[in-house]
Amino acid sequence: MARRKSVPMREFRTVKRIDNSRLVRHMEPAKQKNLFKTAGLGGLVAVFFLFYIFQHFRCIDLSFALEDLKAQQAKAAALNSELKLEIANLRDPMRIDVIARRQLGLTQPLPIQVREYEAPSGMQVAAVRFNRRTRGQ
């Protein structure tokens, strides 16, 4: 069989012009509404989820901060107790007595060195205060 000489194929380029500009996508309002609804709901869930995560981690952070504050409060309370204890120690009557008599040389007055006075009535005190005030003005 004789080999046939190949003939080059002629190619044709045809341009088919399709004008879709007149095509209008039909929008179904119900479906679109549904889409927005779903997207909105999804967004809301996502926001809630993100908010939950934020809140959870914020809660943990605040818990740490709270524990730190509690520790500080406990420390301050302990210091307060120690200071109260020190005040109580310093107010020991024996300590005061010894300081008064030994260091300051104080002595208890003789009964005859103490003069008793009647406590002034409230009215008298008020009158004296009033006079002082008016004098000051």
Binding site: I60, S63, F64, L66, E67, K70, A74, A77, A78, S81, E82, K84, L85, A88, N89, R91, D92, P93, M94, D97, V98, R101, G105, T107, Q108, L110, P111, I112, Q113, V114, R115, E116
Partner: protein, 695 residues
């Protein structure tokens, strides 16, 4: 064909995905549903910590809210040996250096096999910080509380003490332990991977209650200082001072010697921790004659001016001869008390009879607990009436064959001071939790006072007891500026060697109150076995005087008798010279070095220099003769009393039937006159009786 291939591939991928998803969800379901509880427990074990919070013990305050006992948070170190692992030797070495505990001791603790061992408890802050800085694995710090008594041994017998676990072991700490301690609480906290806590548990709900005592720390200090001074001076073995408010039974001070420091109770001997005021029983001796007299007066069996023959110092009771401490002849009842005649007291008791006498003794609270809110109270010793021997009435009337506690005696004397009402002695004023007052229940519940003698009897006894201080055995208890009443006592102790009363070992005591018209304090002083001078009037009465003269001005009690500057200065100078060498810290006043002491002491022949600002009290009243009020109405009596400057105490209704002091007696300005009112017939009868008696 091509499309089929694509479908197959898609199916394979979808199948694999489905399998994968099924595996994942299956595993999730297995973990969440089947193994849920196991993993929950494991997670909790990793993340949660349960810690036990022991609430801080409530504080104890005096009546002016000055703290007497309080707790401060401290840290204690503990170890979990299993967590230390192989580093036990190193941990022991490092901790030993910081805490000063021998290394081998720590190693032994770590090797003990326990899951928890204390390393050191209640560390000072610097040591706790050093342990924390070591950051050793398996060594932790636990918050605890340490009990402190900032005033050291002040009121130690009232407060008591606690052990290492803060459990109350004495005094109020023991009596109110459950309330002061609060309840331990377990809370759950979350921990992260670094074992930092977050999401801690709720705050403590049931904190320890704070206790407010009736004790006044200043009065307590005065009592303890004067007791210590007296012990140093008399070399007595032990002593007790009680200061009580007679109007309500509140104990203002309760001091014992020997005492102890509750911050280190184990350093003190057991006897030093004993609260003698409520636990020690002793024979009251002559102070018990007050009870004998009270019983006889209350039954109108005797009158103050009635004369008894004291038989020159000896009397026979049931064939036994009882000798008096001195030979007395004829004595009035007032003198029997003032001179403390045993024979006189016995004769009065014999007139009364044992049953009535016993009834009054019980009525005054002897032979039974007073119900004070302190632990270890003794009920004293009083034989039942059926067990009394024929001689018992003689012995008991002079304070032998009967055992009392100092608290019983001071409470009984307070009832004489306040007009005949026996109040329950108490040291707890109130309890508070979170600034809210708690109801006082059980032993703390306030009780109604019991009338043991009539107000007229009490008034008569007060006058007689004043005589003891002015003219009798208690002269050294006379106060500068205030009236005082009391009774001395010098009771022999039983010598354990012979089983008989020892002639040298005595319990010297003085019980009294001041001022007489409106007593602010009742004070009991008791010294066990003073050496040298050993009578109550010699050694205990001066202690009463010194305490009363400091306590009364502190309580703002106005003076009711004028002062004699010369006498006061002389007595204080003598006192200072006598005591300055021995008492040192305990001498409250060292007047020897007083800069403004008048030089007139040395120049007694010169006229007394005028001393500015030394006039203290004026003798406003002088002696006032008390009218006979019997048969008069309340209005008349009140008007007459007010006109004369006397204070009437009215009991009952109707016409005046009885009065104390009786008509014609001399009293001072402002003195209280106790009057009993009754039916008109009774008043007429009383007046007739009096007229007949005069005839």
């Amino acid at each position: 064909m091509q499309e089929e291939k694509v479908h197959v591939r898609l199916l394979i991928v979808a199948g694999v995905a489905l399998l994968w998803m099924t595996a994942v969800f299956g595993r999730l379901g297995y973990l969440q549903l089947v193994r849920h509880s196991d993993y929950l427990v494991r997670a909790q074990r990793q993340q949660q910590r349960t810690i036990e919070i022991t609430p801080r013990r409530g504080a104890i305050y005096d009546r002016n809210m000055h703290p007497l006992a309080m707790s401060v948070p401290v840290q204690s170190a503990f170890a979990v040996p299993s967590e230390i692992g192989d580093n036990k030797a190193m941990a022991a070495r490092l901790l030993s250096g910081v805490l000063g505990i021998p290394r081998d001791v720590l190693e032994t603790r770590f090797d003990s096999g326990s899951s928890f061992v204390w390393v050191s408890r209640k560390l000072p802050p610097d040591k706790a910080e050093a342990v924390r800085a070591l950051n050793l694995k398996g060594i932790y710090l636990q918050a605890e509380n340490q009990r402190y008594y900032p005033k050291r041994d002040l009121a130690s017998h009232v407060l008591g003490f606690v052990d290492l676990d803060e459990k109350g072991l004495g005094g109020i700490e023991h009596e109110l332990d459950s309330s002061i301690r609060g309840k331990s609480e377990k809370i759950v906290v979350m921990a992260d991977a670094k074992q930092r806590w977050f999401d801690g548990g709720a705050a403590q709900k049931d904190q320890g209650a704070n206790v407010v005592l009736t004790i006044d720390e200043k009065i307590q200090y005065i009592a303890e200082r004067e007791l210590a001074a007296a012990i140093a001076k008399t070399r007595a073995l032990a002593g007790t001072v009680i200061v009580q408010n007679p109007s309500n039974g509140a104990i203002l001070a309760l001091a014992n010697w020997p005492k102890f420091n509750p911050n280190s109770p184990n350093d003190a001997k057991t006897e030093a921790r004993m609260d003698r005021a409520v636990s020690a029983i002793y024979e009251p001796g002559s102070t018990f004659k007050l009870i004998t007299m009270a019983a006889a007066f209350d039954q109108n069996l005797i009158r103050p001016e009635e004369v008894f023959d004291c038989e020159n110092g000896a009397v026979y009771v049931a064939g036994h001869r009882i000798r008096d401490h001195k030979s007395f002849g004829l004595l009035t009842v007032s003198d029997i008390l003032a001179k403390s005649s045993d024979v006189g007291a016995i004769k009065i008791a014999l007139r009364m009879g044992a049953p009535k006498f016993y009834e009054y003794i019980r009525g005054f609270g002897f032979g039974q607990q007073t119900g004070v809110d302190l632990p270890g109270e003794s009920k004293g010793l009083l034989h039942r009436l059926e067990n009394w021997s024929p001689i018992s009435i003689g012995s008991v009337s002079m304070g032998q064959e009967v055992g009392v506690t100092p608290l019983q005696l001071v409470t009984a004397v307070s009832s004489i001071a306040n007009g005949g009402l026996l109040h329950k002695p108490h040291v707890v004023a109130e309890m508070r939790r979170n600034d809210q007052a708690l109801p006082l229940t059980g032993a703390l519940a306030p009780s109604e006072p019991k009338e043991v003698i009539r107000p007229e009897t009490a008034a008569t006894l007060r006058r007689l007891m004043e005589g003891v201080v002015l003219n009798g055995t208690g002269k050294l208890a006379r106060l500068d500026g205030w009236t005082a009443a009391g009774k001395t006592g010098s009771a022999q102790k039983i010598d354990p060697a012979t089983g008989r009363y020892s002639p040298t070992q005595l319990i010297a005591s003085f019980t009294g109150f001041a001022p007489i018209n409106d007593p602010a304090v009742t004070i009991l002083v008791s010294l066990d076995s003073p050496v040298g001078q050993h009578e109550g009037g010699q050694v205990a009465a001066p202690v009463f005087k010194r305490i009363a003269e400091q306590v009364l001005p502190y309580l703002d009690v106005r003076r009711d008798v004028p002062l004699n500057p010369k006498l006061i200065q002389a007595s204080y100078k003598h006192q200072a010279a006598e005591e300055s060498a021995t008492l040192e810290d305990f001498t409250p006043v060292d007047f020897a070095g007083l800069p403004d002491e008048p030089p007139a002491q040395e120049k007694s022949d010169q006229p007394e220099p005028v001393q500015p600002a030394v006039t203290v009290a004026l003798d406003e009243g002088g002696d006032i003769a008390v009218p006979d009020f019997r048969g008069k109405t309340m209005r008349d009596v009140t008007e007459m009393c007010l006109g004369l400057g006397l204070e009437p105490v009215l009991v009952g209704s109707g016409l005046a039937v009885e009065q104390a002091p009786t008509g014609g007696a001399s009293v001072r300005h402002g003195a209280k006159i106790t009057l009993r009112f009754g039916l008109a017939e009774e008043a007429v009868k009383a007046m007739k009786t009096n007229t007949n008696r005069r005839r």
